[in-house]
Amino acid sequence: MAAFLVIDFSRDHFALFGLPQRFRLDADALDRAYRQLQGVVHPDLFANGDDTQKRLASQSAARVNEAYSALKNPVTRADYLLSLQDNDARGASGPQLPVDFLERQLERREAANDAAAAHDALALGTLLSEVRTDARKMEERLAEEFDGAGTGDETPMRVRELTFLAKLAEDLDAMQGALDSEDES
C-alpha cells in the first residue's frame, strides 16, 4: 500500500500544485501537478484500507479537485487571486457593475433570444464569439494587473465583469445547443 500523503489543507491552491501565484498559468504544469497529486491521494489507492484512510483519501482528493477546478478556469482563478489578497470587494458585496456594461450585455441577451426564436444559428454564433472576445480581452487586462502593474480599486470590478461575460457565454452556448437539438427533432 502506498504511503499516505496528508494534504496540508492550509496551503493555498497554487502552493498545493507548486505553482507561482499568478494569473497567467502554465496549463500543462497545472495538469501534470494535478495528476501527480491524484496519483497519491485518490481513493482508488485505498480501496483496501480502513475507514479512516478511505475518508482521508476522499477528503484529500476532493480538495485537490477543488483546487484544480478553481485554477483551471480563468474566471474562478481571478476570483481566487482576489480572495488571496483579502480583497472583500468580491461576490455580492462587490461593486455595482457599470450601467453601460450592463446595458450592452442586456442588449446581447435580447438579440440572442430573438436569434434563438428565429432559429438563426449564425447570428447566435456571432454573438457568442463577440462575448468570448470581450472575455478574452478582459482576461488579458487582468493578467497585466495581477502579474505586472499590480491590482487596483478597479480590479474587483473587472473580475465581476469577466464573471458576467463568462456566464453570458455559457448561456448563449446552451441556447446554441438547444437550437441544434430542436432543428433535428
Binding site: 491524484q38 482508488d44 476532493a62 479537485n65 477543488e66
Partner: protein, 620 residues
C-alpha cells in the same frame, strides 16, 4: 457491520496472497462476471461455456431461477419472470411512462416501484440481487473460494437513486463492493490498456436499456473523463419494441395478452439481431390461441422505424462534446460498447457524426466486465505489471438545493470530477427561525419540479436570531462511487447541529440487514402468516389498479362487462377481511381473469397511441 463481512478477520488472507476480485457488468439484458488471471482479464463462463447470464429472474414454484433457466419461462410465466429489472432500479411508477410495456403486476411504492410475484412483492433491488448472487456463485466456484471484493458497473448516466439501488443490490447479494464504476469508463480501461492509447476518446455505449456517451482523455496512464451524458431509459429494448409495434400493425394482430407480448418481443429481438448480418429477417411466432404470426422485416423498414431512436442517442453525444468543449474532429477514436451497437444503422450514424469508422476490435458485450475486472484487481491490491494507471471520473448530473420560489441552487455542477466536496451558505429568512428545511435535488433544470428529488431533511436547533443572521452551511460530498452525502450546520454560534442524509431512494443499513436476514431465515418464518400478508398486499394492489383503470379507461367496457368486474371486486373485498390466504388468492385470480380482456384493450389502445406518434416512452 458484521453481517456484510465476507470472511472472518482471522481468516483474512495474508498480505502476499492474491485477493479474489471480480468485475461485474450488471446489464439490462445480460450480465457477466470477469476476473484477472495471470495478468489477463477473462470472463468467467458457466459449466457449458456460456459467458453471459441473461439478466432474468423467475420466481418459480420451487424457488428462484436466474439466467437461462428463467429465460425459458419468460413467455409462459411472464408475470413471475422479471426481465430488464435494471430499468426499474431507483424508479417510481410515475417515472415509468412505459410501465404498460412490462407484463408485471406493479405495486407503486414510495421511492421505488415493486412487483408482485408468486413469491411475494419484490423490489428491483432484490431482483437484481438474485442475478448478482448467481454471478457471485459462479465466480466462487471458478476461483475456488470466497470473493474478497467486486467492482460493479453502472451506466454513467445513472443518477443517485439508481446508483444507490445498485450498490444496495450488490450488498444484498453478499458482495463487498470495492467501487461502482461507470460502464463506458470500464470499457475505456479495457480498451486503453490494451491498445496503449493516448488522446481523446469517445465511448458510445448502447446497452439493452441504457445509453451513455463518455468523452475521455487518455494520457500517460491517466483516464480522465471530461464529460458524460446519456439517457438512462434508452436501449436495445426500445428497438425490439419498435419492431413489436410495427408487427402488430403489419400483421393486424388482435389485442395481446402478456405472454404473447413477451414471445413477440423475443421474436422481435431475434429479427433485430438477424438484420445485423442479413438483409431480411423472417419473424415466425405462435400466439397462445394457436394463431401464427408470419411477417418479413427488411433492413430498410427496420432502419426506418428506428430512425428517431438512433437520433435520440446523438443529442447526448452533442451535449457531452459541448460540455467537454470539443468538436467531433478532436476525437481520436470512438469505441462502441453494448450489444445494441452491432446494429448497422448505429455504426453508420456514429461514423458519420465523428467522421471516422468506430473501433470495434473488442467484444462489445464483454468489454465492460473486462474493464471492471481490471479495476477490481487493482483496487483489491493485487500487484500486476502495468498497473500504474489512474482513473478520474465525473458525476453525470448536477446536484443542488431547493431555494425560495421552487428554484434550484446548483451546488455541484455536472461533470465535476469525483470525489468532490462543495459547500454553500444559506441564512434564515424569518426572525427567531429555529429550523430550516433542506431539499436535495438532482438534474439540469432550473425548477425544482423538473429535477429529481433525492432527499428532504430539516436542520433543527438553530438558536433564535434575527432574519439573515444565521449562517447555515450545507455541504455536499460525492464519493468515488458517485454517491452523495449532505450535511448542514449552523456556524455563527458555535452550536453545531448537523445531520447526514442518505437519499430517500436508498435503503438504510437496517433495511438491508433485515432483507438479508429474511433471505436466510425462510425456514423459521411463519409461512402461513407470511402468505396471508402477501395475498393481502396483492389483493390491495389489484383492487387499486382495477379501480384506477375503471376510472380512466372505463369507456372501453360494455355495461355487462363492467358489472362482472365490479362483482369480482366486491367478492375480493369480502375475502380481504378473512384469514384464509388461499381463498383470498382465489378471489384475486378471479378478478385477474375478469379484467384480462380489459387489460388487453387498454394495452392495445396504448400501442395504437404509440403508433399514432404519441410516444409513450417520451420521458427522459
Amino acid at each position: 457491520m458484521a453481517l456484510f463481512q465476507i470472511s472472518e478477520p482471522d481468516e483474512a488472507p495474508a498480505p502476499h496472497t492474491r485477493r479474489r476480485a471480480v468485475g461485474i457488468d450488471l446489464g439490462t439484458t445480460n450480465s457477466l462476471v470477469a476476473t484477472v488471471r495471470h495478468g489477463l482479464a477473462v470472463v468467467l463462463p458457466d459449466e457449458e461455456g456460456r459467458p453471459l447470464v441473461p439478466s432474468i429472474v423467475r420466481y418459480a414454484e420451487k424457488g428462484v431461477e436466474t439466467g437461462y433457466a428463467a429465460m425459458a419461462h419468460q413467455s409462459d410465466d411472464a408475470q413471475n419472470t422479471i426481465v430488464s429489472a435494471k430499468r426499474l432500479m431507483g424508479r417510481g411508477l410515475t417515472d415509468l411512462a412505459d410501465a404498460r410495456r412490462f407484463p408485471y403486476r406493479f405495486v407503486d411504492a414510495p421511492g421505488m416501484v415493486k412487483i408482485t410475484t408468486r413469491s411475494g412483492v419484490k423490489t428491483p433491488v432484490e431482483i437484481s440481487a438474485e442475478i448478482l448472487r448467481a454471478l457471485r456463485t459462479r465466480a466462487e466456484e471458478s476461483l475456488a473460494g470466497a470473493i474478497d471484493g467486486a467492482v460493479v458497473t453502472v451506466p454513467a448516466y445513472f443518477d443517485e437513486a439508481q446508483r444507490q439501488a445498485t450498490k444496495d443490490a450488490a450488498r444484498l447479494a453478499g458482495l463487498n463492493v470495492l467501487r461502482l464504476l461507470n460502464e463506458p469508463t470500464a470499457a475505456a480501461i479495457a480498451y486503453g490498456l490494451d491498445n496503449a492509447s493516448e488522446g481523446v476518446y469517445a465511448i458510445y455505449d448502447l446497452g439493452g436499456g441504457t445509453f451513455d456517451i463518455s468523452i475521455l482523455r487518455l494520457s500517460k496512464g491517466v483516464f480522465e473523463v471530461l464529460a458524460t451524458n446519456g439517457d438512462s431509459a434508452l436501449g436495445g429494448d426500445d428497438f425490439d419494441h419498435r419492431v413489436l409495434c410495427w408487427m402488430i400493425e403489419a400483421a393486424k394482430l388482435p389485442p395481446l395478452a402478456p405472454p404473447d407480448v413477451r414471445s413477440l418481443l423475443v421474436a422481435s429481438r431475434e429479427a433485430k439481431e438477424n438484420l445485423s448480418e442479413h438483409e431480411t429477417a423472417l419473424i415466425l411466432a405462435t400466439l397462445a390461441d394457436g394463431q401464427t404470426v408470419k411477417v418479413t422485416l427488411t433492413k430498410a423498414i427496420f432502419t426506418d422505424i428506428t430512425r428517431n431512436l438512433v437520433g435520440k442517442t446523438m443529442q447526448p453525444v452533442k451535449r457531452a462534446l459541448r460540455d467537454a468543449q470539443l468538436q467531433p474532429g478532436d476525437v481520436q477514436g470512438v469505441v462502441l460498447v453494448g450489444g445494441a451497437t452491432r446494429m448497422p444503422q448505429i455504426r453508420r450514424a456514429v461514423a458519420e457524426f465523428f467522421g471516422q469508422p468506430p473501433l470495434t476490435n473488442l467484444n462489445p458485450d464483454e468489454v465492460v466486465a473486462l474493464g471492471a475486472a481490471v479495476q477490481a484487481n487493482k483496487l483489491a491490491g493485487n500487484q500486476e505489471r502495468n498497473d500504474d494507471w489512474l482513473l478520474l471520473d465525473v458525476i453525470p448530473l448536477s446536484l443542488g438545493l431547493e431555494t425560495m420560489g421552487g428554484l434550484v441552487e446548483r451546488i455541484v455542477p455536472r461533470n465535476a470530477t469525483i470525489p468532490v466536496a462543495r459547500a454553500q451558505e444559506f441564512t434564515t429568512f424569518k426572525d427567531g427561525q429555529t429550523a430550516m428545511a433542506i431539499h436535495v435535488v438532482q438534474g439540469e433544470r432550473d425548477q425544482v419540479a423538473d429535477c429529481r428529488s433525492l432527499a428532504r431533511f430539516e436542520l433543527r436547533g438553530i438558536p433564535p436570531m434575527t432574519a439573515g443572521a444565521a449562517r447555515i452551511r450545507v455541504a455536499f460530498q460525492v464519493d468515488a462511487d458517485g454517491l452523495l452525502d449532505v450535511a448542514a450546520r449552523e456556524e455563527t454560534t458555535g452550536v453545531e447541529s448537523s445531520i447526514t442524509v442518505k437519499p430517500s431512494y436508498g435503503l438504510t443499513d437496517g433495511e438491508i440487514a433485515q432483507m438479508l436476514q429474511d433471505s436466510f431465515a425462510h425456514a423459521e418464518d411463519d409461512m402461513q402468516a407470511r402468505s396471508l400478508v402477501e395475498a393481502q398486499v396483492e389483493a390491495d394492489r389489484i383492487v387499486d389498479a382495477t379501480q384506477t383503470a375503471l376510472a380512466t379507461d372505463g369507456v372501453l367496457l360494455t355495461d355487462d362487462e363492467r358489472a362482472t368486474i365490479e362483482q369480482s371486486l366486491a367478492q375480493l373485498a369480502r375475502m380481504r377481511g378473512g384469514s384464509d390466504h388461499l381463498a383470498l388468492r382465489g378471489a384475486v385470480e378471479a378478478l385477474n381473469r375478469a379484467t384480462e380482456d380489459f387489460a388487453s384493450r387498454r394495452m392495445d389502445r396504448s400501442v395504437a397511441r404509440a403508433l399514432a406518434g404519441k410516444r409513450v416512452d417520451a420521458f427522459q
